[in-house]
Amino acid sequence: MSFLDEYTKKMIGLDTVFDSLKLLSPYGRTLKKSIIPYKDEAKLKAELDSIETILCLIKSKAQVFFEIEKALGKVCDIKSSINRCLAGDTLDDIELYEIKCFSILSEHIKGNYIKLNAMLKELYSKDISDVVRLLDADGKGFETFHIYDEYSVKLEEIRRTKINIEKELYGTKDIDLIATLKAKRLKLVHAEQKEELKVEQELSKKLIARSSDISNNMDFIGRIDLLIAKARLAEDENLSKPEISEILQMKNGINPVAKAFLEEKGLKFTPITMELSKGVTLITGANMGGKTISLGIVALNTYLAQMGFYVYAESFLFPFMDFVYYVSEDMPSFSDGLSTFGGEVLKVKEIIKETKKFKGLILIDEFARGTNPEEGSNLIKALIKYLNNTSSISLLTTHFDKVILCNIRHYQVRGLKDANLKDLEEKLSDKNYSAIEAIQSKMDYTLDEVTGITEVPKDALNICRMLGLDAQIINYAEEYYKK
């Protein structure tokens, strides 16, 4: 079973979404690196519900979240110290300091978490206030640590004697006395270090018994950090909660990267609405009509939903998937020796094998684009016919004609159909726009569901004309179109 490869993740904008997911603690950051699609439907549902719960509270309990997030940002990684402790090693004062700070912050986070009264599933913080007390021998509760005198009477004695000698040392200029005092001091330094080590050994031993609760709280901190980060992302980007369903239904889905890119150029991004169910759905339409973008939006949102994220759509229903496959001609794995077509075929072969055992989402962008159109359309037709009988959801794009079978759902890109060509010509002559930008500005990316066997729109010739291809060629082409 497989989900998207690294190249596709980047292409559909998942990397950018991940970059906007801001984890505050080292535990959260580790967790972020290991995010994968859920394999258990109930757990996925629980995760999405937890984000919803947090989103409901994030405004009304802003101060509590502020406290939690502040502590998350301060918490340090004590995992290797705890492992060392479990292995029987003695922790040094710096490690003990870090465990003390961790425990104080962990208790602080717990206290605030309780105030949320959120009841997030499987998210409990253990009480480690005794660890704080153990490492706060002077009872001041500061986020500092030393091998306190309170740990050992002997230690306190050694230190007192040592400080007196240091005072004497500081006050004298007598070289002989200095040498004697230095020697005495050195002896005491060694005795102090020996006694400190004893205390460190005892503390380390006591911590072994608490390591499982401490580890639990490290996980808790990572989990709460990730959930808050997902909720913050949903809030900042205005995302919606995906719902698990039998069909895949997306209302006004967007790709945040493409949207930002177009908006920067002053162009409008058209959100995509579509419904997919078991079997094949086909998108046809003009070149430059955004077929690939539509595929990418479905891939991005399905993948995010499957990983327990809110999605880039007004509403989003999706079936729990065993896999998500995306095949496009641009995949770099197709360039190592195989022809593009050869690469596509092997990938499809792999997918077909999976469909026999599992159900998932299959996205194929312009299959067989690189081969001759006659054979290409036959192959697509065959592929459609096969995939239509599997339990998976398949979404294919093509600009080949005559591949539309009557029993499949079919969307068409509106393209330049309704564009005011006069407007477009004006824009094309406007020096402020490149020809590509002018066409993009007039292209309608809306998908219309069409029924019956319709022809693929013929925008290719229009686009050639607008981009200023030699008139003679256009004329020849028009003659061929008539034949």
């Binding site: 340090c76 004062d93 870090e98 500092t144 640590f145 040592k162 240091e166």
Partner: protein, 343 residues
């Protein structure tokens, strides 16, 4: 006439001062210990270091080196392995997220007197961060053990003032020590670039690009592993429209001598982080000036004084009065003999 008091007053005013040594065994640690003693009971001190400088024993010569001795209450920012080597009773106040090759930088408070080993970050930005944290935790005066080393990436210029330690160990030749010291002072005093636009370009891009070429109408950013050995790269990018060459790294004789040969040298100005990045022999700077090329820095160094050590651990010594007087006659700075003041 300057006195030691002038230096101390200046330190009180500036609050963050680095001490840089011209070489090994020039008395930098002795200077540091002297200053620590002067401020004991008067101010909470903070100590840190640029990189790791000096081990307990000088590996090459085997001479036992003096160690820094702090008094109770001092704040110390040092790498973990160095902290563990110290022998004062310590309280851990903070661990800093930035790491050095010697481990995390830890800030500790001395609860007793004792010896410390200092090792800190070797990047300017991080030194500033450490100093700020020391200040935040209560340090009133901060001393930074700074290296004048080709290897150091950090610039002591990030501190408010710099003390230069020089000594007999640099050379057996008295005149050579004098001229090397004067040369170093001259290089440290390189003037700050007046064009703020150039300074901003340096600050924005030099972290990622060690070489930045600014022409009359465009800019060229170049990544090199090290500035040393990149003279060919520099020469290839010069033409008559060159105005500035911004260098993030150390500039040596070789580089300057090859730039001098370029017909375009007269059109350009070299801009560096600060004067500690110039490792030029006496006279080389004049040769550059002679072809019409100037050098400026992003941050000028505020040299507040010079300490001398007339003894070399190799067994020879200079006449301390002659040494002091010779330098005093040539340099208008407070100069003192550290070996005298510690007695």
């Amino acid at each position: 006439m300057f006195t030691m008091n002038d230096i101390l007053e200046e330190i009180k005013k500036l609050k963050i001062v680095s001490i840089i040594g011209m070489g090994k065994n020039v008395g930098k640690t002795t200077t540091m210990n002297y200053l620590i003693k002067q401020f004991w009971g008067k101010a909470t001190l903070g100590l840190t270091s640029i990189g790791l400088d000096g081990e307990k024993f000088d590996i090459l010569s085997g001479y036992k080196k003096p160690r820094i001795y702090v008094r109770s209450g001092t704040l110390i920012a040092t790498a973990k392995t160095s902290l563990l080597k110290g022998d004062f009773t310590r309280e851990i106040l903070r661990t800093l997220p930035r790491s050095t090759p010697m481990g995390k930088v830890i800030i500790a408070r001395a609860l007793s007197d004792g010896y410390v080993e200092l090792a800190g970050p070797s990047i300017s930005r991080e030194i500033s961060f450490v100093c700020n944290t020391l200040k935040e935790l209560g340090a009133e005066i901060i001393f930074v053990d700074g290296a004048l080393s080709r290897k150091s990436l950090a610039a002591p210029g990030v501190t408010k003032g710099v003390l230069l330690a020089t000594g007999a160990s640099i050379s057996r030749d008295f005149n050579e020590v004098i001229s090397a010291t004067i040369n170093t002072v001259e290089l440290l005093q390189t003037k700050e670039e007046e064009n703020s636009e150039i300074i901003n370009i340096y600050k924005d891009f030099s972290k990622d690009y060690k070489l930045i070429f600014i022409y009359t109408d465009h800019m060229n950013l170049i990544k090199v592993d090290s500035v040393i050995g990149s003279s060919k790269e520099i020469l290839n990018n010069l033409d008559e429209t060159i105005r500035y060459v911004l260098i993030n790294g150390v500039v040596t004789d070789n580089l300057i001598l090859s730039i001098i040969k370029s017909p375009y040298a007269k059109f350009m100005k070299i801009v560096l982080e600060d004067g500690t990045k110039l490792f030029l022999s006496p006279g080389v700077l004049n040769k550059l000036h002679a072809v019409g090329c100037e050098i400026s820095v992003v941050k000028s160094i505020n040299l507040i004084g010079i300490t001398i050590n007339p003894y070399s651990p190799e067994g020879y010594e200079f006449d301390k009065t002659a040494y002091l007087e010779e330098l005093k006659s040539k340099l208008n700075y407070p100069i003192l003999n550290v070996m005298d003041v510690i007695k």
